[in-house]
Amino acid sequence: MTREQRLKKRYAAEKRFRFLGIGAIAISIFFVCLLLFKVFSTGSTAFIKTTIMTEVDFNKELLELGDVKKPTLKQIKEAEFYDVTYKAATGLFPYKNDEEEKGVKTLLSGNYEIEIKNYLLNNPELLGQKVTIELTASDDLDQLHKGNFPRDIPEDRRRLNNFQLNVYDNLVEQGKIGTAFGNYFFFHGDSRDPEIAGVAGAVIGSFFSIIICLMIAFPIALMAAVYLEEFAPKNTFTDIIEININNLAAVPSIVFGLLGLGMLLSVFGLPRSTSLVGGITLSLMTLPTIIIACRASLKAVPPSIREGALAIGASKVQTVCHHVVPLAMPGTLSGTIIGLAQALGESAPLLLIGMVAFVVDVPSVPTDPSTSLPVQIYLWSESAERGFVEKTSATIMLLIGFLVIMNSLAVWARQKFERKW
């Protein structure tokens, strides 16, 4: 082999190596894009819902309010809505038999009776009149309208039968099918029906857990970090604490779930399935992460600050409280926010302490049973209905949105307040 050939070969190897590096990065970026694209493309439609314009007759006789002259709101609330809602639902399309009647009725969501009632309660002056109301459509019709159901497969494998498809086409022709803002998704708790299932319960549950996690983990972590950085004597016990914290940071999250189950629930008897227990478990999990971040930012404060304070007569505690900790605050805050973001996305330990319960009501205090956003994603992804796939992706979008906000907050806090020494 001549010198030139050898050189050529070596340069080719150089080029190949470089190309492999670029390829590896390209693959990583490809996965990021694929993941985000998949989630956004399936999830974005969940923020709008399909509606059916339905004619409702608020007939006084049907409401059994015929003999009342001017019914109060309370009387309307207690009125008999069955006939009105039945007439409205079945009036969508003429049907021949019971099966077809059911087919027409199930085009509306499981919540349509309450929607009609609430509409009248909000507009009591409409009593006795015929009005057209936008009612939420059922999950199957919703998915059909959004184009997620193929129509050309055999009838027995379809969720909607031929008659219902016919009704749908007819309603579209009459312009009665519309879309509206998906209020159920944002303001409702979980439900077995995808069209009226929402994430409000999960969002509130996550919020409570994170707040509890913050209240427990941040003070303890900051104090522990201050002790280890500023006060701890160099001895075996301090070494044990340090090794212990480093190892704890790498313990799988599910082990903390076992801790929550074995200690918090069965020994201390805290209430199961609540965001209180979830928050405590998550705080134990994030504690080492936050301690490590706080220590790093305390370490970054130059010794000259401490020496200056000590030189003018401050005590050790005064030096730390008045100078070191305030200067380290941006770093500790951003470390804490990153730790909380980690806790917000965590679901494995929450599964074990029972936060996977099916909770319809939106929790109002931390001791109410609740789920959290990631657990809601898990629960919905296990459901068979097509409508839940869309909702799952939308919940992921919401969760990623929260995480992006928290992480940008952390970056912002660091850049805005950090000082270079």
């Binding site: 972590a221 212990n244 494995a348």
Partner: protein, 467 residues
């Protein structure tokens, strides 16, 4: 109850802060002596003395009151009952009594429960009364003591700082308490599990089917039950499945992560680094449940379709899908850790190699990489421990039934999946099935601990060499 007491305590603490502060001013305006510390330290001194003893009393009561009550009541039940009761029966009766006393008991009310509830309520009111009395006594006594000390012009700052240091020390012990809590809760159940199941059957048994382990009477096992029990908890398929999925994940993560780490550290311009690194880090920030969703709904079916089209039988919950997605999740770990390690290799080594006429890739392959190897091995071990402990991806995308196989297209299960499967939903703490989850958890804990310990040792040792 406790919240009212704590609220009162905060109120008392605040007032005693101002009281202490004004007290020292009054004492010293008489001109008798100079104060030894700034006035607000006397405030803190008074407030700490007021609050801390009372706080200790509240926490002692919160921890021990239920335990002692339970013990006393259970003794009474034991005496009152005609025949010997087991621990579970006692527990059940006790919880019935408590829920009846709290007024939310739905079930058959017997005379025993009713009288038990009355005793419970009596004991509870005695204990609560004692708590409140002690609480106020502690506040008054400690406040008087602090007041006296302030009158004597004690060195308040030293006292306050000492108390603060102790509080700081206690919070750093919290991490150790967490570890002790983990070990205690895992070990307790695991020991009970191993009293029923032979550890050798657990660690070396080849069949995992905990639902088979139904015991009608734990004192006398029928031969069939004993045989079932012996064969129900063989954890080898789980260990194998975990190792297998982690192996697939590492096959994806190590080459991609390592090459991107090398590229970012050695080739990338500042601008490329500025953009490339955060984008790869996004993969680390995505919650694992999202990866699970991605694996179960996109990657799994995708492999199935491909398998069908070339005539291969692919399970929709294949180890390949779970492992691949887990590998993607781990890429940023390997890449950023190896990036750090490569950056820590001294520049002089590279320059020496360039001076000998080596190209950049030759330098990386023959000089930088060998020098960084211990650190890279350490970071890979950390990534392995991460893969072994990963839960959501495998719960959502890997199989549920134990299956001893090395075919990546079949479903396998892992340690973490089984823990979740066993413990989600209703569980009774005394059954071998529930306890097996804790035994698995302990195995996982020890396994990751060993991996981390080795990895951190390697990384640390290597760092010291070049510093």
């Amino acid at each position: 109850m406790n919240s009212i007491l704590i609220l009162a305590l905060i109120l008392f603490g605040l007032t005693s802060f101002y009281f202490g502060k004004s007290r020292i001013k009054k004492v010293t305006t008489n001109g008798a002596f100079e104060p030894k510390a700034l006035p607000h330290f006397y405030g803190y001194y008074q407030a700490l003395w007021c609050a801390l003893p009372a706080l200790v009393i509240i926490s002692i009561w919160t921890v021990f009151e239920p335990l002692i009550l339970k013990n006393v009541i259970e003794n009474k039940i034991q005496i009152a009952s005609l025949n010997e009761l087991s621990k579970d029966e006692l527990n059940l009766i006790y919880s019935q009594i408590v829920s009846f006393a709290q007024g939310n008991f739905s079930g058959q009310i017997t005379k025993g429960i009713e009288s038990g509830a009355i005793t419970y309520k009596n004991l509870l009111s005695i204990s609560q009364g004692a708590k409140i009395i002690l609480f106020f006594c502690a506040i008054i006594a400690a406040s008087l003591f602090a007041y006296n000390q302030i009158n004597k012009n004690v060195h308040a700052r030293e006292g306050v700082e000492k108390a603060l240091t102790v509080i700081l020390f206690l919070s750093s012990v919290a991490a150790i308490l967490t570890t002790i809590g983990i070990i205690f809760s895992l070990l307790f159940e695991t020991i009970q599990f191993f009293s029923k199941i032979n550890p050798l059957d657990f660690f070396f048994g080849l069949g995992w089917s905990p639902q088979k382990a139904f015991i009608s009477d734990p004192t006398s096992l029928t031969p069939q039950e004993a045989k079932d029990l012996k064969e129900a908890f063989g954890a080898v398929p789980l260990f194998a499945g975990t190792a297998f999925i982690a192996f697939i994940a590492m096959c994806v993560a190590v080459p991609i992560g390592l090459y991107s780490g090398i590229y970012l550290a050695e080739y990338a311009t500042t601008k490329q680094r500025k953009w490339g690194k955060p984008i790869i880090e996004i993969l680390a920030g995505v919650p694992t449940v999202v990866y699970g969703f991605f694996a179960a709904l996109t990657v799994g079916p995708f492999f199935r379709v491909i398998g069908d089209s070339i005539g291969l039988e692919v399970s929709s919950e294949s180890a390949l899908a779970a492992g691949l997605v887990m590998g993607v999740m781990i890429i940023p770990f390997v890449s950023s850790l190896s990036d750090d390690v490569i950056n820590a290799v001294p520049q002089s080594l590279r320059e020496g190699s360039y001076a000998m006429g080596a190209t950049k890739s030759e330098t990386i392959k023959k000089v930088v990489f060998p020098a960084a190897l211990p650190g890279i091995v350490g970071s890979i071990l950390l990534a392995v421990s991460r893969a072994v402990g990963e839960t959501m991806i495998v719960v959502m995308a890997a199989g549920l039934a134990a299956n001893l196989t090395i075919n990546p297209l079949e479903a396998t299960t892992t340690i973490t999946t089984q823990i979740v499967m066993i413990l989600v939903g209703d569980q009774e703490f005394t059954s071998a099935k529930t306890q097996s989850a804790f035994a698995l958890g302990l195995t996982l804990f020890v396994l990751t601990l060993i991996l981390n310990f080795i990895a951190l040792r390697i990384v640390k040792k290597y760092r010291e060499k070049y510093d």
